[in-house]
């Protein structure tokens, strides 16, 4: 509450009472080009940025304004930045002692990395020349939500993940220190015969864990995942572990680093020879590997035995308080498949896998369209059903399953002939699932798994609801925010840990207000 006492004569002047004022207001404005949140790997929001065009300058340049809001929506900086008119703000990250913005430009074929120190002073700018195509690839990968263009290394620097368009597509992971340290880069081999991409997913003061994806061609479904552990100080590869069709096929959902110099991988495992994008997985796994690449511990939990056992012993709970089928039959069979979005390890050593049931069904509309287009349209669709949380103990033994009722939502199948898994993976990249994101609060040993559900309500209009499954004190609970009321519409965006940013539109007043709200643990 800033206030200056004036004890004054009140002089209010109507806006636009004069042609001059109207002219001034028209010109003295900043045009918003784009905006986004500054998120860390736990999906915790450090702040928000708004990127404006402030002025037209000579030689095709523009003055841009970068407005930075902190996690509580308080404006903390507004910085002027001059660059070519086609420059856009790709992403921004914060490493706790510096902030980095990736400014891209198709025309000048470069990405400029701007850094700001803790006093909001602009520091060194790194210019990375790259082809327009490469910028576009980065954007496409970024749009999937599973690709880190910029990855902060706490208090030390940032990783920039560059796509290299050589004969095949490769990558270059470059480290830019902000603490005076040395920079390095880790590149895919120039002579690689496959399309390669990399995604850093975890980092500490010693190592970076990154997943390298490799496929023979752009359309190929033969994917090999190489997990790479790289020395954060030198960029040298410490070890890698290949999960391919022939050798231990696995889908990595998450990884994290232990204090004892080991890394834990979590995800789904498959039958030898199976394709992770085409075939049904056999179950879920965790694997602990030390920094020499040796597996210390491995736990598998199979659908057939371990999971079915839990279902058959009626250990399936309903998070919505409704009773499950007394028959105790496996719901997975009834509901089709589960798509796991994330696996979280709690401070007590338990694991929680967050997923959604989905099924391939025949769509009436798709069928009609197929007839009209003489078979050109797909007749099947993916039906997305309830959310489900699998709980595992420290030995990765499944100890419980909790299901959360969700309305069925349908997405068109991308192909009638592809497997449901392939469709699910593709749809996940398009954001067709109801799942939004999971925030992990390590300090309070909590996680927040967020979904958007279309609720079909008896006797009233159906509504979209933002639902969050919250883990706290060893318990799971659910919070819900309806996105429509009689006089208001809401949009929910990620915010600081345990909160959401509500964008509230008042239909009557035609006004928008932004406010942060805590998610409620009941």
């Amino acid at each position: 509450m800033k206030h200056k006492l004036l004890l004054t004569v009140m002089t209010f002047f109507a806006l636009n009472a004069f042609a001059q004022e109207s002219k001034i207001n028209d010109v003295n404005t900043f045009l918003l080009r784009n905006a986004g949140s500054i998120m860390n790997k736990e999906n915790d929001v450090d702040g928000y940025y708004f990127y404006y065009v402030a002025d037209k300058l000579k030689k095709g340049e523009r003055e841009f304004a970068i407005q930075i809001l902190d996690k509580n929506l308080v404006e903390v900086a507004k910085k002027s930045y001059v660059d070519n008119k086609n420059t856009f703000l790709m992403t921004s990250k914060f490493n706790n002692s510096a902030m980095m913005f990736a400014m891209a430009n198709y025309k000048t074929k470069e990405i400029n990395l701007l850094t700001f120190d803790k006093q909001a002073n602009q520091k060194e700018t790194f210019t990375i020349p790259l082809e327009s195509k490469e910028i576009r690839y980065i954007q496409l990968l970024q749009a999937t939500g599973d690709f880190n263009v910029l990855f902060p290394v706490e208090n030390r620097g940032f990783l920039f993940n560059k796509v290299e368009d050589n004969k095949k597509i490769g990558y270059s992971l470059k480290y830019y220190p902000t603490d005076g340290g040395k920079s390095w880069e880790y590149n895919s081999p120039d002579n690689a015969k496959a399309i390669l991409s990399i995604n850093p997913i975890e980092v500490n003061e010693k190592v970076i864990v990154a997943l390298e994806f490799s496929r023979p061609s752009a359309m190929s479904r033969k994917i090999t995942i190489n997990t790479k552990v790289i020395d954060v100080n030198t960029g040298k590869l410490l070890f890698e572990r290949e999960y391919s069709k022939k050798k231990n096929p696995r889908m990595i959902n998450n990884a994290f680093l232990n204090d004892d110099n080991s890394v834990v991988f979590m995800g789904e495992f498959f039958k030898e020879g199976d394709n992770i994008y085409d075939d049904a997985s056999l179950g879920l796994f965790t694997e602990v590997i030390d920094f020499t690449g040796k597996t210390i511990k491995e736990n598998l939990s199979s659908w057939e035995t371990d999971v079915a056992k839990v279902y058959n012993t009626k250990a399936v709970e309903s998070g919505n308080g409704k009773k499950q089928s007394a028959k105790g039959t496996s719901k997975i069979k009834d509901k089709g498949y589960i798509y796991f979005h994330d696996i979280v390890k709690t401070n007590t050593g338990e694991y929680y896998a967050i997923g959604e049931y989905y099924k391939k069904t025949v769509s009436g509309a798709g069928l009609a369209m197929a007839v009209l287009s003489q078979g050109g349209n797909s007749v099947t669709q993916i039906t997305i059903d309830d959310a489900v949380i699998f709980k595992f103990d420290a030995d990765f033994k499944l100890t419980g399953v909790t299901e959360y009722d969700k309305g069925k939502s349908r997405a068109p199948s991308l192909s009638d002939f592809g497997s449901p898994q392939l469709n699910a993976h593709s749809l996940e990249a398009f954001g067709a699932f109801d799942y939004e994101y999971t925030q992990v609060d390590r300090k309070n040993d909590r996680f927040y798994a967020c979904f958007i559900d279309y609720e079909r309500l008896k006797g009233e209009k159906n509504k979209n609801a933002f639902k969050t499954i919250i883990y706290d004190d060893g318990e799971l609970s659910e919070d819900k925010i309806y996105l429509t009321t009689t006089d208001k519409n809401f949009r929910v965006m990620p915010a600081k840990l345990g909160n959401v940013l509500l964008v509230e539109y008042n239909k009557k007043e035609k006004s928008i207000s932004l406010h942060l709200e805590k998610l409620n643990i009941n």
């Binding site: 800033k2 004054t8 004569v9 109507a14 037209k56 509580n72 909001a120 805590k518």
Partner: protein, 420 residues
């Protein structure tokens, strides 16, 4: 009062008839009238006979001692704002903020502030500022400058921004002069009254410290919300990490702050006033003022609660309690009520809409601490804090139906804890 507002506004508009820029002036004054009526309809003002009567005694004394003031069509509205301020609207309407009653130390200080506002009216500052603004906006020079700037192909916004800066500095300079003049004439009015003359300087000095003067009482949150059955958690006062280590916003587009700061107006005004009178006899609050301060504080809490400003309300009630200025029944009912309302707002995901986020630049340490506490506590915490608070004060509030109802509300939320 609506008719009064319309009538004085119309009279003011008519007073400009025949002037060069009448239509534009009319447009501005009409808009001001609508804005004031909207504020009026929006319950921005409080009508309390006790406050009005007290203010009337001060104002009457000034009128009585100054025959040059003709108080025709004058009306003093009490604005609900907790910010200590007063204003002259130039048409007979004056506003005095509720927060001003809490800030002033004596009748004398309030009398000087009112004298200052009356001087603005007598000196016709509202009309002069309006005319000056209209003339400036219609001047050939400005029109030419705006046209040149807006026709620029490159750097157009910056050129216009420079013009806006120039206009702002110009207005600022005019306002400073007007304030100094109002101090001088206001002091002449004030000198004729029975009030202690040294209050003028002391009052202005307070204004200089205004930002740091508010919210000075430590609300001692821990003392109020630490219970045997549910101890206070330090994490409730934990603030979020910040992106930057800054004392103020880093703004490349801000107007030159140094230029503004190089002419600090209040010290200048104090120095000027001291040339008229430089005695510093201590002033004392009257019994009437003490009573009005209490009413203002309590009303201010009710207003904050009604506006769902739970942070302000909680700070105000705890500060009163710390200063022993509130009776136990009001304290218990208000605090329990704030906890209940906070719970309901959080449950409906609406709390953040009404309670401001914590600004890293705010200097209001204790208000921020209260705000942080309210933002950080979760439903499960409020359920327990609410019940523990009610149980702690149960014996003192035995027959209070309102408190019993709030206790029942929290008991219901804590089914396993039984009330005594």
């Amino acid at each position: 009062l609506k008719s009064y507002i319309s009538a004085v506004s119309l009279k003011k508009i008519k007073s400009f008839s025949g002037s060069k820029n009448y239509k534009e002036i009319q447009k501005i004054l009409d808009k001001n009238k609508v804005a004031f009526l909207e504020e009026f309809a929006d319950s921005s003002y409080i009508f309390d006979k006790r406050i009005n009567n007290y203010l009337k005694t001060i104002v009457t004394e000034i009128y009585k001692s100054n025959a040059t003031i003709v108080p025709t069509d004058f009306y003093f509205f009490i604005d609900k704002s907790p910010i200590p301020n007063a204003a002259c609207h130039g048409n007979g309407i004056f506003t005095v903020n509720l927060g001003l009653f809490e800030m002033v130390h004596s009748d004398d200080e309030l009398a000087f502030i009112i004298s200052h506002e009356l001087a603005h009216y007598v000196l016709n500052h509202g009309d002069k500022t309006l005319l000056s603004h209209v003339e400036k906006m219609n001047s050939k020079n400005l029109k030419r400058k705006v046209n040149i700037a807006s026709r620029q192909v490159y750097g157009r916004r910056r050129a216009i921004s420079e013009l806006v800066k120039e206009l702002n500095y110009d207005a600022l300079g005019r306002n400073r002069n007007a304030e100094v003049q109002a101090d001088s004439l206001g002091f002449l009015f004030f000198r004729n009254t029975k009030f202690n003359k040294s209050a003028a300087v002391s009052c202005l000095k307070k204004l200089d410290l205004s930002d740091g003067m508010l919210f000075l009482t430590n609300p001692q949150l821990k003392n109020h919300f630490n219970f045997d059955g549910y101890p206070f958690k330090d994490a409730w006062l934990m603030q979020d990490g910040t992106l930057f280590d800054l004392k103020e916003k880093s703004d490349d587009y801000a107007f030159d702050k140094d230029s503004l700061k190089s002419h600090p107006d209040i010290p200048l005004r104090v120095a000027k006033l001291q040339t008229y009178y430089n005695d510093s006899t201590a002033t004392q609050p009257s019994v009437a003022l003490l009573s009005i301060k209490k009413i203002a504080s309590e009303s201010s809490i009710v207003i904050s609660v009604d506006a769902l400003r739970m942070d302000l309300a909680l700070y105000q009630i705890l500060a009163l309690s710390e200063r022993n200025e509130i009776d136990i029944r009001s304290y218990c009912n208000t605090v329990a009520g704030i906890l209940k309302r906070t719970y309901e707002l959080k449950l409906a995901h609406q709390f953040g809409k009404y309670v401001s986020p914590i600004s890293p630049f705010s200097e209001e340490k204790y208000l921020n601490e209260t705000r942080t506490f309210l933002h950080n506590i979760e439903l499960k915490n409020i359920r327990k804090i609410g019940l523990e608070f009610c149980l702690k004060h149960q014996s003192e509030m035995n027959n209070d139906a309102h408190f019993i109802a709030t206790t029942a509300f929290f008991s219901q939320l804590n089914p396993t804890t039984k009330t005594k």
